[in-house]
Amino acid sequence: MSRNTTPLLSARGIKISFGGVIAADGIDLDIFPGEMLAIIGPNGAGKTTFLNVCTGYLKPQAGSVRMGGAELLGMAPRAITRLGVARAFQIPQLFVEHTVLENMLLSAAVRERAWNPFRNLHALPQRDEMMELLRLVDCADIAERSAHELPEGQRKLVDIAIALAQRPKLLLMDEPTSGVASSDKFGIMEILIDALRKAQVTSVFVEHDMEMVTRYASRVAVWSEGRIQMQGEPAHVMNDPEVIRTVIGG
């Protein structure tokens, strides 16, 4: 894997174990601007752990994660967010007592440090921008609905929209379509890919659905027992006999 562009984010020698369970055993990975990298691998291989390390939720025993000259390890999640790494979750993390639009506005308010106590959240100048983002993920019509009453697919999209409201350089997504009815999966993924392309955000997504990966990823990294077993073009990786045996199953 050689490229001329400098990576957006570089992880080197990440090691972390929980008790006796090794979740990362020397992970080296570069993420390049503009790509859509899929992370695949069996359960317990350490895929989510890697996202948690990159976003400051977990501190590894060794290694480094660098972005634009800054070392991310040791930073709090909110500091990493401000540097431009946003996160979407396997289980959508929404403010369920607020409306969808209020969820977005809160994200925008934090981004803009809009702390004027005399201004209503709804009077934020970023309101139009947030509506535009909701339109991008096809959720404009539910802007005034309370976040707790949404079906899972829309919760996933709103979760991602909240992350996009940060105007991130890099978006890390943990199984963006898990928990969604299989008939809706591709529809949601199409909306998502389109939104990411328009927002020009580099993205990484953990995925179990191999068809999703072949269809949408620009590159694939295969996790196995805390290591990267293989990485490269989807067509190449997905046809590798070893990968088929350990991950895809066949």
């Binding site: 976003t55 709090a76 999640p77 909110r78 967010t81 401000r82 946003a86 996160r87 979750f89 993390q93 929404l94 403010f95 369920v96 007592e97 607020h98 209020e102 506005l105 809160l106 994200s107 308010a109 934090v110 981004r111 809009a114 702390w115 004027n116 106590p117 005399f118 201004r119 209503n120 959240l121 934020l124 909240i162 992350a163 409201a165 940060q166």
Partner: protein, 323 residues
């Protein structure tokens, strides 16, 4: 409609000394406590309960006592500024510790701080007057001094204006991004961190505001009573604030007002009926209220409408059966 009702209420209360002079003292006590309860109400938005806000209430009263005695009766506005500074600063210092904790730990840590203050106020006799407390000299207002009767009116309007400003401030704050973030703390701290905001800091800011509100309440209370005593920071006092806040309901500021009025009124009547066991009556009435309207008094109109509908429906069905 709701807004008109609030305005009407404010106008009536502004005219209370003219309309019903006998209730001025009672109303002043309500306002003083309500200020502290507003502070608790604010923290409740983040799902947090403090069992120690009596310490800021006491801070307000003791500040008035110390400054009044040192200056031979200070000016109310000067006292107000001093109380805002002192309760704000102590709220910041204590808040830096407690804002790292949630729920029972947050509640108990506040309790611990306030009981430490209580012990100090009792034991440092030569500084604090011990259990007897300190006398709060009657202050002036813009250089003007007052007789006892005049001062009752002055302190009424002082606490009334503080309540109006405090309520207005909370209303604005809770609509603003910072206040909305406070409500978000209760629901999802993870997401808050991942949009770049510290949940602890969000709570800390609200905590400082709540301490200032309780401090001003304590100032009004101390001025009205003419006395600052350690009992103001005893845990039952802090518990009372929490109780009133829950009684009123977490919905909005009107509930805080209703809660405080009802609590004080029940307490007042109970004390007149049964001077040794007034807590018994208070307890029974409050249990009754909470059983009937679990959402607090703020839920009362909706509950009444619900009951009305049920009664109408039953009558309708009974009428049909007769036919």
């Amino acid at each position: 409609m709701k807004r008109l009702l609030v305005i009407a209420l404010v106008v009536v209360l502004a005219l209370l000394p003219v309309l019903s002079a006998g209730n001025v003292t009672f109303a002043t006590t309500v306002y003083a406590k309500m200020l502290a309860v507003l502070g608790i109400f604010l923290l409740l938005q983040a799902g947090q309960v403090s069992f120690g806000h009596g310490m800021y209430f006491a801070a307000g009263a003791y500040t008035a006592a110390y400054m009044g005695q040192a200056m031979g009766g200070a000016d109310i506005l000067l006292l107000l500024l001093a109380v805002i500074a002192i309760s704000g600063l102590s709220g910041l210092i204590v808040g830096l510790f407690v804002s790292r904790y949630r729920y029972i730990f947050f509640a108990m840590l506040n309790l611990a701080f306030s009981m430490a203050v209580f012990a100090l106020l009792e034991k440092l006799f030569h500084l604090t007057g011990g259990t007897d407390g300190l006398r709060v000299p009657r202050p002036t207002l813009l250089g003007e001094s007052f007789s006892r009767a005049q001062f009752d009116i002055v302190i009424y309007y002082f606490s009334f204006i503080m309540v109006v400003l405090g309520s207005l401030g909370i209303w604005l704050y809770l609509r603003s991004p910072l206040g909305q973030a406070l409500k978000a703390v209760k629901v999802n701290e993870t997401r808050l961190e991942y949009i770049g905001l510290s949940a602890n800091r969000t709570i800390l800011i609200a905590y400082v505001f709540s301490a200032v509100l309780a401090g001003i309440g304590g100032l009004a209370f101390g001025l009205q009573q003419g006395l600052a005593v350690p009992e103001l920071t005893f845990w039952t006092r802090s518990g009372e604030f929490v109780f009133i806040a829950v009684l009123g309901g977490v919905g909005n500021v009107i509930g805080v007002f209703a809660g405080t009025v009802v609590f004080q009124a029940v307490r007042f009547v109970a004390a007149a009926l049964l001077d040794d066991a007034w807590q018994l009556i208070l307890g029974i009435v409050l249990i009754g209220i909470i059983l009937v309207v679990p959402a607090g008094l703020i839920g009362l109109p909706a509950r009444l409408m619900e009951l009305g509908r049920a009664i109408r429906k039953r009558r309708f069905l009974a009428g049909r059966e007769q036919e």
